[in-house]
Structure formats: structure tokens, C-alpha cells
Symmetry: D2
């Protein structure tokens, strides 16, 4: 099996550390370049980063010398570059990497709304990658150089939300109303400073800046389609799907819980059993492609009344599977249910890795 | 000021301890009888109870000898008896107290659905006590003995929910659709065993047995009316108001947070500013009556984007005030907002005390 | 009762907020000046500070206009100035206030080691204030102006530790060996950023920078004496008392727990009952002086095997009392026990207030 | 590789679930019998147990039919039986299994003090198993049947404590004074009910019934020797080693932290560097035997000042490695350090599995 060279931007941060940890154990990728701020450049990774993961990092990775986040040096030899950069710097840096012909998979929010940039939850809408695939293949077929491109990872709370929606929409038609109240883990906020202990011990914070807006529009892009030319994304219009989100931070390390309710546009609505069966039978495209990290079971439908719970269920399929429980009828919309997803795996760095696996499986990188 | 004699049933339990703590500091009530299981009967309270409150109990109360939960002895001299009994024993015991002519204010769920039993959140629907008042006055006017009666305290998560609804309905007319997703503190589950530490550290539990059902129907009784004869309660019919609840237990000691959204039946709906002003101006009847524990400000409308938070806001007005924040338009219904209430004060024992203050102010006890 | 004018330096920070909250409810002090960084100067307090206390602040205090931390304007009219400044700026600012003739009570560590500066836990060694009193009275008796001075509040974990030691040493003679392992609440670290949620949820941090050293030497100064001239402090020498500390941060909001063991120099050692009685009978000088905030019971000796616990016992005597439990013999030294103190009250701002009450009672301010 | 048949007593409980989870992934053992109370007997395991582990159980194990805890049926075919029974029933049941000729590895405390029963921390004193080995070999050499026996797993907080002591004693001679203050995770208390959420949120409990006594005497047995006949254990006498423990429960799911200090009997004491090197070089006998679960690195010496931390370090070597940090001189004894161990792995079920691996490697089972 060929091994692809990977770079990581923002390597010392919370998301960057996750990319590195996942890559260090990955059979198909090897870390070839690590980028961080000029303060860290030139140092060995172990000296530049305050490693805060629950698994230790192999010595090989610890000794890699960090470079600046510029498209030069080892980065130019990378088959794929993962970006865990903060939004305030991601825009310019990622742009320079794409312009240098590199394939960038980014966790930053900067380019998610761009019409020609795929916003991908790899267990949900990998077909959106086709827009990039087409562009690359066209360029190559014209004898040109393989062009750079960027694929965006979704917001962490969006990933869990859309996972069960996709198979439901495929089988039962459009969802025209959707509410979600989230109970989000603190790891999504990083750790320097992230969420303060004083804010989250014996407390919840009923607000995450910008999060509700992201949840609402990202859902419509991810579940939406592509224009006839296959070049731009066409989100579901507001008039066809109302999404309403309320986001909370709760004292949980990993795992976002969402209490959702939804209504199908078509009547009669399916039964609870129909919904459960649909979710159980869903096999995501990444699994069909045989991707290394793809979940064996994309959606775990749990029948116990008090599940899913973050501590007990977040690691199903190594965090790439999504758990759904308490599927029941709703007196207002059609169904209520509880969705749990691992925010740093399928909701962030892990999603980036699986996107890259798909890119590799499709020979785009 | 006359001081009323108070009894407490279930005195060693979590709710009973709260009743006792509140009564021990109360200028209008003195503890006259404490009832617990036969295992505790005959012991001094300090020897019978494992005191788990954050305030210490005065020695006077510690030395009271506990008796069995039977309408005899000191209980017969009580002006009011507060019940913190578990549902499995509350039914028979409370009935025997009412039959003995006693005024019972109960936190148990057993009689909440009875047509002629008031279900009261004292900052919301004290007028429901009129049904009892009428009954008592009629009996007395006929020369009979003052009859016993029972008034039920609402479920803890209902209390917070209906607090802002009451003034809104009074001013803007009926609410025909309401959703709430709760993030409930663990103190509501008591402490023997209550919620296990293994279930709630780094975790949330997306289920509380029976809670969603209680939230949904209690709301309709509390916001509902009384029949023409003034003898029975008439909940809002399902066809006129849809209520949908999703209940979660979160790692918070005290304070239930609820993310709610609602729709008014009348068009056009009020503005966000109208809603805020209405809530700010609301003064509950208990405050107008000058009750000792009534909140100075019934509803605190908070403008900071990240409030209310349980640790910071639960103690407003000693837990008798309810905080509402993040009032904003909803894309699906009319408004979304976050409601915080202190579950052991306005949601349980504290509500019982304030109900008794109202009974006293109205000369019913 | 005369009311003294108080100023607060570092008013927007964690300690400053505590000073302000305590002063706002205090019958003997009124807030006359609030100082913060130039970024906050000129703003109303409510606009300058992100208020994070569990009690709301009266409007009067909210509307005070913040000034810079310079000995000018309203500060010059203050009878006492409380400093909640961070150590990196406290040194110069506090010095300038003392030089301007002001009485400064500081929570910063900068001047604690100075030979002529009292380091005071007000329920333990208020007699150390005499050194300042003498200096002030001498200056005044010579016809001079009342000189400025500074009194330092101890480190938070020192305060709890020395509270039971003082009466024991007074009664049973010197302690020559002392170990303490602390389990410290996160409020001691402030909130911007303070302890990160990722560091403290489902975790403990076995290290607090500089804390062990402070615990060890502060104990010897506080329990130590004064030179013959009454002008300088003489800590207990290392050769006479070994103190060994291990400090941990734990997921608790307020309340430092310390597992201590100690050995008396004199043989035979007292009995467990002797120790308990000694602690129970201790009445601190501040209580004898009738100071407003002085605890009714300085040390609460708890007999239940599983107490003290931070959540249940930290608020005894409004946080000015210290709880001691599990007093038992130790196989290595003489006794083991568990000490609990409220780190933001007797361990920080609250101690400052009580020190000022003593200053007022002694007519030093 | 031959696969041994394993039974589990107390299979539905907290420790039993851990045994089952570890065995389900183990290449050398297969689960052959599961025993629980008569209430569970006859049911499939998935219906009898409320599975609370963070990993799901394979279907094969879920479908095993639970039997009563009697030495009959499948249990009689087991090569080794792991006991996760509660102490109130473990005594009789385990005795009946031993009498039936079975090899029992028990987590219960009942037989730990027996003179001829090994109390084993498998990374510390596997040589204590020799006493059993001798007994078995003698019986077999005399032509008898292989006799049953029991080996006890140590208390969870003892396991972490003795891990670094063993190599230190081997290299630098006896330790004559030892103190430990523990910060213990709640998983050690099981989950029905275990530690109540109300007791452990925003709190610590400075008491664990019986724990300090266990820590103190178990240490002396584990570090002690065997009599000349090789038949009985001879703990270190009290006069030669003083151990003093203070035990606390803290809000941590897994991982016991201990702040220890110790003194060597021999002078001069080694240096800090000597101690670190000794710990780093230690390779436990189980590792030398090549046991499947034995840690690659028995003791991880961490140099960062704020480590080890339970959430970050408990899973080193899958929980079979022990982490030691903050090794420094002590002003009272010789050295202070912080020890972290995974209480349900090396401190409970995991230790049992590694003991069984040693038994297998030595052909005792």
C-alpha cells in the first residue's frame, strides 16, 4: 500500500495535535511536515507543543522539526495538508497553499461558505468531493499541472446532526423543519484557554459564539445539491427547510449530544420503526469504499431508554460512528431523537483524515 | 406576626431536609412535627437524618424527636403539613392527613392530576388556590369544621418553564406550540442514591423517567382554567396547545436550564422587545400579597448573550426568581429563549413554603 | 457607627470582584474608589468588569466610575485600600500608594516576605498588626502625618493550614514537623483564564506553581514572632520546624481541603481528645474584638468520619470559620487531620476585609 | 498458543464487567462461564447486566447464559476463575471454588490477610505466586490431583503505591517511613450505587471506609517476604516500616493519584537522579516473562512539573504502566513524588488478568 505524505498546519494547537495523533497511527499516511507559528518554527515538535492528548506520541513524530506555515520546504512534497489553523490566520495561509498546488483539508471555517468549496462530513456527503475531482481531472486532462484545492470539514455540531438526516432524506424525502438543542463538549473549544474551569464546573453555558448560525446554514449546504455544471454547491433554500438551533456548552470532555426533532415534507410520515430501520441499514460511501477509518456501522441505533451517553458511546467505531437513541414521535413535528457524535473525531480532525482517505481511494491525491 | 405550626413528612429525605432548612429560618412558621419512617421514629432529628445541606441546622431543630408519618400527636396541631414523601408512600399517608382535617402541601406527584387538587407554582398560578379557599370557606360558613385539603407543588422542570409563559399568555394571548429541551441539575433526583457519580461525571444522561410526560401535561393544567363552578381544573386541551419536551440530566448541582421555543396563536406575534418588556414588568401575585419569600423581581431578563447560567444565576431572589435570557426570534416558531430556575427552591420545597405563605396571607390556614 | 471609605485596586479581576461584593454588603465600609487598568479607566464598573460572582451587585456599585491604579483622585480620600492586583503590577502600584500615606491591605504576594510587613491571617495572627500600629502611633506621637503602610493577606492554602495550628501551638507548644497535601479549588486561580476546563474535568493537576514554597515559609512567618524592638518579624527557623507541602488542583469551585499531619516538639503529646477540645475552645482575637465578619466559631471540629467536605462545609460562618475533621493519631507523626477553609473568604478577599475591620477596631484607620 | 478457559464470578458487577471486557479481547483466554446472583442466572448476559463500560461487548460474550456462583457446570471446566464478587458473599463462594479444585484470582478483600494466600500486584511481587506454585507442584508430584488455590489482587490504591517502592527497595534498601495522601477515582467504588453524584460534583470526600488501613498493611505484605519453608508470607513488621495513609475520593472517573513521601533506612540516601534512574530501569518480572498484558515500560518517570495527571496518563501501557512524577527532595523524609495508576486495570480486574497470564506462563494453570 502506498503511503501518502501528510502535512499539518497549526500543529501545536488542539486540532493539530489530534491530526498528528491520528496520522501517527495511520497505515496510509506519514507525517512529512509540521507547521506552526514562527515562535515554534525550528524547534522539535516535542519542544514546541504542550501535548495534551490522552495517548502518547511516538518518538519519531516528537522529533520532527516544526517549520513555519508557508508553502515551502517539506510542505511542497506533501500529498495532502491538514489545517488545524485558527480562523484569524487560516484564510491567508490556506490560500497560499492552494495556490502552490497543494491539496488542503481544513478544519477552519474561513472557506466553508465558498460556492465551489466542498463542505464535507465524510460519512454523509463524500459525493460533494466530486466537484473537486472534476476540477482536478479536467486540469490534468488538459495537460495542466494538478491544481491545488481545499476541502472544508464541517463544524463539529453539524457533523453529528446531519449524519442521521442523510439516510432519512434519501429514503423518506425532504425534511422541512428541524430543531436541535445541543449539549456540546468542551474539547471543541480547544485548550488555550478554551473553556474556563470556572465557567464549566457545576455549570452550563447556554451560548457558543457563532455556533447556532453555523449549524443552521451548514446543514443546508451539506444536505444540498450541486448545480448542473457540477461546479458549485446549491444549499437547500430557507423556504424548503427551516433549521433552528440552540447551542449549549456542558461539562463533558468529548462528545456532542443533540436533542433534535424533525418533520418530513411528505405525508404520511414514516413510522418510528421505519426510521430506526433506515438508520440501521445506512452504510456510508466511505465504508463502501473500504476506507481505513470508515465506521463498520455508520449509525448505531440504541434501544435503551437512557442512551446514547457521551462517556459510554462516543468511541463507537473509534469515534467515526454516530449514535442515535430515543427515537420517538413528537407532538409538534414528526420525530424526536438524541444524536451523539465524537466532536474531535467525526466532528473535526478525524473527519479530515477520513476525507483524505476518500481522496486517496479516488486517486485525487 | 402570628407564627404558624408546621409539620414535615419525609423529613429525613432530600426534599424534607430542604423544607426543614427553609422553615428553620422562616419568621412565620415554626417546625412542630417531623415525620419519617418507623426506622427513624423516636430518634432526635440529628440522629435520624444524614444532613446534606450546605447550611447547618440550628440545634433547636436538630433535637426535635421524629415521629411516624401518621396524623396523630404533634401533627394534629399543625396549621400546615409539608410533604417531601416519595411517591410510593405519599398516596396513602397524605390522604390520611387530609382526612384528619389537615392542610397538606405536597411535593409528591400522586395527586397532581386530580381534578379538584390545585397544582401550583406560587409565582405563576396562585389563583388556583381559590378552588380550595372556596371549599374551605363554604364548609366553615355551613358551620362545619375546617376541612383538610391538599395542594400539589409542580414538577421541578415545569416550574421554570411556566414562569415566563404566564405573563406572556396574559398579555399576548394563547401559546399554541411550545418545545423545551431541559438540562436538569442532579439535586432534583435526591441523594440516596440519586444520580450516580459514574453516570454524571464527564457525561450527560439524555433521559429522566416520566419527566417529559409531566412537563407536557402539568404545563397545560397550570396555565389552564377552572370550571364555572370553581370546583375543578380545566387544563388547556391538547388541540389548543402542543407541548414537546426533551429532558436531560447534566453535571450541575442546582438549577434547571431549559432551552425553549414557543409560538403564539395570535398574529402578528409581538416583537422581541415586547416580550422582554412583558417579562420584566411581571409581578407575581405572591409579591403583591407581600409574601415573605416572594421574589422582588419575579422574572430576571438578562441581556448578556451567555446568560443565564446555573452557577451564577440560580440564587437570584433566593431562588424564587426565574431568569430568562437569549430571547430571540426563532425561524420555526416565534421565539427562542433560555430559562433558568432553582429546582429545589421554586421547583420543590421552596415553592411549598411560598404556597403556605399565600395560604396564610389569605387566612386559609 | 462611622463608615470608612474603601478603595479597591484590581477591581475587575477575580479577587477585586470579591472585595467589591463583600464591601457592598458591609455596614462599616463604603466603596469610594475602584482602580483597574487604563483600558477600564473612565468606564462605569458594570461596563468595565465581566461580573462572575454568584450574587448580583447593587446598582450603586455598578455605576461607580473606574479610575487608574494611581494614588490620586478618590483614592486619596480612602481610609483603606484593598489590592487584588496581579503580582506583576502589584509591586510598584502598592508601593506608590503606601508612599502616598495610604493603608493598603494586599492579596498580592510581592511584599509578604518583607521583614517589617505583617503577613496576616486575621483569625490567626492579628497581633502581627501591632508592628504597624506601633509605627503609625510613633509617627503620629511625633507630630508627623499618619504614614502609609501595607499589610499582606496570606496565600489561600496557608490560611487554612495555620488556623488549627495556632491554638495547638499556644496550648501544647511548638510543632516541629508538619506535612500537608492540599486539594485546592479552582477559584483560587481566578477566571481569565484561570484553570482550563480541559485540565480540570475528570482530572486533577498535581502541581501549582510556587504554591508549595509559599505554604512552607508563610507558615513559619505567621506562627513566628516579632523582634524585641517590635519592628520586624522573626519566622520560626527551619531547624525548629520542618514543613513539607504537596499541592494539587482539584475539580472543586471553592474550598481548599488539606490532609495534614503534625508532630509536637514536647513529649508526651496530647491526646486526640485534648486536640479536639483545644480547637473547639479557640476563639480568635477578631471575634473577641467583636469584628463584624469574625466567625462565631473559629474552628469547627467535625466528628462525622467523612467530613469536612468543600461543598457542604466551606460556608460555615460565612466562610470565615475553618473546619477540621478526622482528627486521629498518626503512625509516623503525632496526629493526622483534614482541614477545610474557604479560599476566597478566609484565604483571600474575605481575610482582607476582616483585617480592615481589625484596623478599624484598633483605630489604626 | 493454547487458549485457557476462564470463568467470572460477580459477572454483572463493576469489576466483573471489567474482567469480561478484558477477556473478550484477550488472545490467551476465552470466557467459558459467567456467574452472578440467582436473579440473573439463566439469562443471557446482555439481559442480566447493565453494561456500563466505554467499549461495547462482542455479541459472542453478550449471549453467554449466566449461571449461579456455584462450582458446577461450566465453571468446573475453567482453567481459572476470576472473582469480582462483593466482600459480603465472596468468602463462602470463593472457598467452595477452591475446594472444588479451581484456581481463583480474586479482587475481593476476604482472603488477602491469610498467611498462605498470595496478595499480588503482578508488576511488583509475582514471586509471591511461588508459594502457590510450590503447593501445586508438590501435590501433583505426590500423584495427587491439582489442588485449588486462591490468589488475591491488592486493593486499588495499594497497587499504585507499591509499584515504585519495589525497585527502590531492591536497589537502595528498606524504606522505613512512608506517607501517602490519595486522590482516588470514583470507578473504584463501582456503580450501584457507588459514589453519589451529589457527593462528588464540586466536592471531594476525605474518607473511604477501610481504605487507609488496607493501604497500610497490604504494603507491608506485598513488600514483605516468605518464610523459610516457602509456605507463608511474612509482612514487614511495623517496627521496621511506618506507613501512614490519608485517603480521599475526588471527581475523577479513572486513575488514582497519590502524593507520597518516603525515607530510606540506609544513609546516605540516594540522589533524586538515582531514584529516577532506578525507576526508569525497572522491568517487572511479568514483562520479562513476555506476558501479553505486561507493560513495555513498567514505570513512566515524567519530567514535566505538572504530571502525571489522571486523564492524560492513566492509559499508559493500556493501564498496566504506572506513572511517577515530581520526584524531589522532601524536607521531612527523603523524597516526595506523585504516583498515578489506573485503578481498574493495574488496581483491580486488569491485575487479575495479568496474574492469570503469569500463572499460565509458569504452567500453574
Amino acid at each position: 500500500m502506498s503511503v501518502k505524505k501528510a502535512g499539518v498546519l497549526g500543529a501545536t494547537g488542539s486540532v493539530g495535535q489530534r491530526f498528528i495523533l491520528l496520522l501517527s497511527k495511520h497505515p496510509e499516511f506519514e507525517i512529512h511536515a509540521l507547521g506552526a507559528s514562527s515562535r515554534s518554527a525550528g524547534k522539535k515538535y516535542k519542544d514546541a507543543a504542550s501535548w495534551k492528548q490522552t495517548e502518547t506520541l511516538p518518538e519519531t513524530e516528537q522529533d520532527i522539526v516544526v517549520q513555519e506555515c508557508k508553502p515551502e520546504g517539506n510542505f511542497l512534497e506533501c500529498d495532502v495538508v491538514f489545517s488545524g489553523l485558527d480562523a484569524d490566520v487560516a484564510g491567508d495561509i490556506e490560500k497560499s497553499f492552494v495556490e502552490a498546488g497543494l491539496a488542503v483539508v481544513s478544519n477552519a471555517k474561513n472557506y466553508r461558505r465558498e460556492k465551489d468549496v466542498p463542505l464535507v462530513v465524510p460519512i454523509v456527503n463524500p459525493e460533494h468531493i466530486d466537484v473537486v475531482e472534476n476540477k482536478v481531472k479536467q486540469a490534468v486532462s488538459k495537460g495542466g499541472k494538478k491544481p491545488g484545492f481545499i476541502i472544508c470539514i464541517s463544524n463539529c455540531s453539524t457533523a453529528g446532526l446531519v449524519a442521521p438526516l442523510k439516510p432519512l432524506v434519501e429514503k423518506f424525502g425532504p425534511i422541512d423543519a428541524l430543531t436541535t438543542t445541543t449539549l456540546q463538549a468542551i474539547s471543541g473549544a480547544g485548550f488555550s484557554p478554551g473553556v474556563s474551569g470556572m465557567d464549566i464546573l457545576d455549570n452550563i453555558v447556554p451560548y457558543i459564539s457563532g455556533e447556532e448560525d453555523k449549524l443552521e446554514w451548514e446543514t443546508k449546504k451539506i444536505l444540498g445539491g450541486v448545480n448542473a455544471e457540477g461546479t458549485e454547491f446549491v444549499p437547500i433554500p430557507e423556504s424548503e427547510m427551516k433549521v433552528s438551533a440552540q447551542c449549549n456548552r456542558v461539562p463533558v470532555i468529548d462528545g456532542h449530544t443533540e436533542c433534535i426533532s424533525l418533520r418530513f415534507a411528505n405525508r404520511p410520515a414514516p413510522s418510528v420503526e421505519d426510521v430506526k430501520q433506515c438508520l440501521r441499514e445506512y452504510e456510508c460511501a466511505a465504508s463502501k469504499l473500504g476506507c481505513h477509518s470508515a465506521p463498520k456501522q455508520t449509525i448505531h441505533v440504541l434501544d435503551q431508554p437512557d442512551r446514547p451517553q457521551p462517556r459510554l458511546d462516543r468511541d463507537r467505531d473509534s469515534g467515526y460512528g454516530v449514535s442515535v437513541g430515543r427515537i420517538r414521535e413528537d407532538s409538534l413535528l414528526d420525530f424526536k431523537m438524541v444524536v451523539l457524535s465524537h466532536n474531535t473525531i467525526i466532528g473535526a480532525a478525524g473527519a479530515g483524515i477520513l476525507i483524505a482517505e476518500i481522496l486517496k481511494a479516488k486517486n485525487i491525491i
